[in-house]
Structures are given as C-alpha cells and as structure tokens.
C-alpha cells in the first residue's frame, strides 16, 4: 500500500505572552492509500493543529511531514498551494463556500487555480454536483440551499480536482443526525472508490464510519487502531 501521509516526530508550539505552549509533542503517523481514518480527541488535544499540518496550511515547529512523497518543509508557499490544489480536497465544518459565487462556480474554483479551460471547468463541476446529487442547483447560490446540501457542494468542490486525500474537519459538526449520516455515506462511498479520507470528529457515531481511529490527548497520540476496539 502506497503511503499518502508520513509524519515523523511532528512537534508544534505556539508563542504566547506566557511563553511557548506546546500543542503537538512528537507525533508519528503513517496513512496509506485508500485508508479511512477518524481523528478524535477533546478540544485542545492538538487534533486540529495536526489536521492543519496535514493540509499544508500550517508548518510543524520541528519534525518531518511527507505528503504524497514530498517533504513539505522543502516547498515554498506557491508550491504548497499547488500541492494542496492537486493532492488534497478540504471539507470544513462551516462549509466555507463563497457566498457570491454560484454552486457551479464554487465547485469549479480549484480548477481555476490550475488553469483548466472554462468549458472543462464547468463540465467537471457539473459532474461532481451530479455525484453528490445536486446537479439541479448548479446555478443556485449557497444561501438558497440547506446546510446538508452546502456540505455536499463543499465535498463536490473537494473532489473536483481528483485528489488522493480528503481532509474533513468536523464535516458534520453543523448538521443534524440524518443529514450527518447522509454525508458519512457519501464519504464511505468515496473511500470505496479509493480516495484516502482523514476526518476529525467529536462523535463516536461518525467515527464509526471510518476503518481506523486515532485519538489525541494533550498533544500526544494515545490510540491508533480499529474503530470497533476503541468502543469495546
């Protein structure tokens, strides 16, 4: 199995007025192609910081992070942007759609930054909207659809550039149970197509959709293994 993520001794501290505060205290983790990993832990456990580093949105203070075979420490901001664009699809808790753009344009946005022609952008965006069952709303705007639908659009946007990895930060945090389950079924279907998924959640029900569970506590990794065993 190919490695998508390899983290070695990730250490991260934040400068505060009261001195440096460590948030990650040396994390080692490998995630292979096609895995579906749930990340859990209480607030302040370091899981969000860890996700930000995985998404190349933040840098570790020390330690090595290799994404899809590339050591991100050696990349400049533009190359990091390119890596995010080509390898990662992000799904956020707050959906983070652009309010002034149509759903079609929202989904097509990652393609704008890798110079895909307009006609192809639109056709691929519509393919993705069809995949999440929202092709009827291509010309609508985010404020015209429900939260669950917005999250589906966000997933369509994460998928449009055919990423290897989807990073989802509490994707169901703002959704009701029924909608959450629909979204999780969608993730599971995507995982079955071979896309690697790393998902942060608070809820055991949501984590149960994953195949592997990692747990954070006080900046350390305290559990890495089967989802079912954790609940046992």
């Amino acid at each position: 199995m190919d490695q998508v993520i390899r983290a070695e001794g990730l250490f991260k501290e934040y400068e505060t007025d009261a001195g440096p505060v460590p948030v990650l205290k040396g994390i080692d983790l490998e995630i292979g192609q096609g895995e579906f990993v749930a990340v859990m832990g209480p607030s302040g456990s370091g899981k969000s910081t860890f996700m930000n580093i995985l998404g190349c949105l933040d840098m570790p203070t020390t330690g090595r992070y290799v994404l899809n075979g590339r050591d991100v420490a050696k990349l400049n901001p533009d190359l990091l942007a390119k890596l995010r664009n080509e390898v990662i699809g992000f799904v956020f808790q707050g959906f983070n759609l652009l309010p002034r753009a149509s759903l079609e344009d929202n989904v097509a946005l990652p393609l704008v930054y890798c110079n895909v022609r307009k006609s192809e952008r639109i056709s691929r965006a519509n393919d993705m909207l069809r995949k999440v069952g929202l092709e009827k709303f291509a010309k609508s705007f985010p404020n015209q659809i429900s939260g669950g639908q917005q999250q589906r659009v966000a997933i369509a946007r994460a998928l449009v550039n055919r990423p290897k990895l989807i990073l989802a930060d509490e994707p169901t945090g703002n959704l009701d149970t029924r909608t959450s389950n629909e979204i999780m079924h969608l993730f599971r279907a995507l995982n079955e197509e071979g896309i690697t998924i790393v998902l942060v959640t608070h809820e055991p029900d949501i984590a149960a959709y994953a195949k592997r569970l990692v747990k954070f506590m006080d900046g350390n990794l305290i559990y890495d293994g089967e989802v079912s065993e954790a609940h046992a």
Binding site: D58, D78, E86, L109, P110, V112
Partner: protein, 406 residues
C-alpha cells in the same frame, strides 16, 4: 483564468455597490478635474500661441530714439530719425526676409452716414508679409501706389463692420480726415493681440500717402517705426547685430555714442508670455492631480477594508490552491478596474465640463487625445500603486490565519 478573475472582481464590486460607487467617485472627480484643468490650461496656451502667430513670427520692431530737450527726456520715437530709406536698406540684409516701415496715427473715417475713429498705418505692401496678414477680399495696394502716394486703403474687419455693415467695401470710396480714399482690399480677421487690442480695428494706406497727405505735418519723410522679420528664429541675434551696425552707419553715429534708435525683439516678449501660460497650465494640472491622489488614497482605503472583510474568503482560496500571486492579482485587478472605470467616467465629465466652460465662460479650451490618454495612464497607475499594498497584504496572509479569521 483572467476571465474568471474579471468575473470575480465584478462580483466583489457588485456586492458593495454603494461603496464601489463612492470609491469610483473619487477617481471620477480626480480625473475630471485633471482633464478639465488641462483643457483650460491648454486653451490659454492655444490662445497665446494664436496671438503670437497672428503678430507674425521672428519679428523685430525698430523705434526711433529718444530725444532730450531742455533736460526733459522724451520717450522712444520722439525724434523721428528712421526713414523709408532705412527700411529699404534693412531689407537688403541677408538675414532679413521682409521689412515694413510704419507711420501710425489716429484718424476719423467716414462712409455715407457712418463714421468711425480708427488707427491708420502708412506702410508698404511688405507689411502684410511681416505681420502674417492675409487679404480677405480685393487686393493689397502695390509698390507703385507707394511710389506715387495714391489715396488707396485696405480696411480691417472691424472698420468694415462699422462703416459698411454687410456691404462689400471694395472699390467704394471712404473719407479719411476729409480726403477721399479708394478701398482696394479688406484684411482677414486676426482678433485680439496679446495685450487685448483689437487688431482688426485698423486701416492700411501707402506710407508715402500717410507722410505727405494724411499726417504730413508730423512726419516729414520719417517713419515712427520699422518692422523687420528675420529669415528664421536662429538668425535673430545675427540680424539684430547687422541692423544695429547698418543703422549706426547710416545715421553717422560715432563709436561710443548711444544709438538714436532701439531694436526690440517681439518674439522674445511673446515667448515669455507663452512660458507664463505654460506655467499656469502646468500649475492647474498639478492642483488637479492632487484630487487624483486623494481618489487613489480612497481606493487604497477601501481595498484595505475589503481585504480585511474577505480574509476568510482569502483563506478558503488559499486552502484550495490559490497561490500568492493569484490573490495579489485578484485584488490588484479590482483596484485597477475601479480606477479605470472611474477614469472613463471622469474623462466624460472633464470633457463635458470643458465644453460647458467654453460655452458659458467664453474661455478657449483645448481637449487633446494626449491629455485623455495621460489621464488614463495616470489612473491605471494610481490603481496599481494604491491597490498594490492592500493586495500584497492579502497575498501575504498565512492560509491558516486567514481561514481561522472570524
């Protein structure tokens, strides 16, 4: 990519219509003021240049010297030392292309029941060439008229209007100080001189006629001044030296004694006037540019607000693959669009204002393509200059900070 950026810039501007409009208004006023002020300044310059051209180019005026009688110094021209023969001699100098002597005076002219007081110049046909004057109707008088001192006259437009109204004056007889003169021609219109005199309020007659018949008692054989035109602007200093030497020789002035004439370079005077209006024109433009600067600062201010407001959006874009230069270009494009759109509207207002000034204030205005092009380039420059700092601020945000921004 660029197309998509234009679409997004438009969306962002449309989302805050009033704000976009007000920001643009700063540019509209700035550019409008620059275009209008340049039009007025260049109009003034144009008027001066026209006056200079109508005076004739590379022009000298040679005046008789002053005289002292009983300790009382008289002004230039008080002693009639210049003659028609002097003018003839000057015209043979190599650097001089045309020479006309002049005997000026004021006379009452009468035609039918109309009468008019005007200035009458006794001169030669060369006067027309020297003063750059055309004949609108009829013909000029000739050298043979000068030789035989015939009573013929060429009338300026103002004189024609006052004596003849709409009638054709050519071949009519007018009376100048009671004597009959045949009108042979009419001068083309020239308008005002630099000092505001009506140059068309004049009559030209042969110099000999003026000396012997009209102002005979005042100027026996002498002329009040001589106008001479140099062959080129570059030849003027040399021409002045040659004329001085020639006249000193003809007037038997010994070395060390003062000239009994004075030579004035009219073109130099005119150039001074032209420089003064040019300075005024530049000053107007400079003052107007300040409003353009203020407009630019307005753009910068709003772009900074916009960057702060859209920090989260910037974060989203960076997360899904926007590079720094993509973000930079997006905000820069917005600033440039606002400034160029404002500029376009401003040009319309500026040109409209210029026509209004022309119509209601009777000022000459000149709107040139160059000034409009300049306004556009400055506006685009202002957009880039004042848009750059906010755009760079946006582009330099860290993705994680931008995403977390609430």
């Amino acid at each position: 990519m660029t197309g998509q950026m234009l679409v997004e810039a438009w969306r962002a501007m449309e989302a805050n219509r009033l704000r976009t409009f007000l920001t643009m208004l700063g540019m509209v006023i700035g550019v409008g003021a620059v275009v209008l002020m340049l039009a007025i300044g260049q109009g003034a310059q144009y008027s001066v240049e026209q006056s200079i051209a109508s005076m004739g180019s590379n022009l000298f005026i040679i005046l008789s010297g002053s005289s002292t009688s009983g300790g009382l110094r008289m002004g230039s021209g008080a002693t009639p030392t210049l003659t028609v023969a002097d003018a003839q001699a000057i015209s043979e100098l190599p650097e001089i292309s045309a020479v006309a002597p002049a005997v000026p005076g004021i006379a009452q002219v009468v035609y039918g029941s109309n009468n008019w007081s005007t200035s009458v110049y006794g001169t030669t046909p060369a006067f027309l060439a020297v003063r750059n004057w055309t004949i609108a109707r009829g013909v000029p008088f000739t050298d043979s008229d000068v030789r035989s001192a015939t009573r013929v006259a060429i009338l300026g437009q103002t004189v024609v209007e006052n004596l003849f109204g709409n009638d054709d004056p050519v071949n009519k007889t007018i009376r100048i100080n009671q004597s009959p003169y045949l009108v042979v021609g009419v001068l083309g219109a020239k308008g005002q001189s630099l000092d505001g005199r009506d140059q068309d309020d004049t009559i030209l007659i042969p110099v000999t006629t003026a000396q012997r018949k009209l102002f005979g008692t005042q100027f026996q054989g002498s002329v009040r001044f001589i106008m001479a035109q140099a062959s080129s602007a570059a030849a003027m200093p040399l021409a002045e030296k040659q004329m001085t030497a020639l006249l000193r020789q003809r007037h038997h002035i010994q070395a060390g004694r003062d000239d009994d004439f004075s030579i004035r370079n009219l073109t130099a005077l005119a150039n001074t006037a032209a420089q003064a209006t040019q300075a005024m024109s530049m000053m107007l433009g400079a003052i107007a540019s300040i409003s353009l600067l203020v407009g630019g600062i307005g753009i910068m201010n709003i772009m900074l607000v916009s960057v702060t407001e859209r920090t989260r959006e910037i974060g989203i874009r960076m997360a899904i693959g926007a590079r720094r230069r993509d973000i930079l270009m997006q905000f820069l494009l917005e600033a440039v669009i606002i400034s160029i759109a404002g500029c376009t509207i401003g040009v319309f207002f500026g040109v409209g204002g210029a026509y209004a000034v022309n119509r209601f204030a009777q000022l000459t205005v000149v709107v040139t393509g160059v000034s409009i092009l300049m306004a556009f380039m400055v506006a685009a420059g202002v957009g880039v200059f004042f848009g750059f700092y906010p755009a760079r601020k946006a582009a330099r945000l860290k993705p994680i900070d931008a995403l977390r921004y609430q």
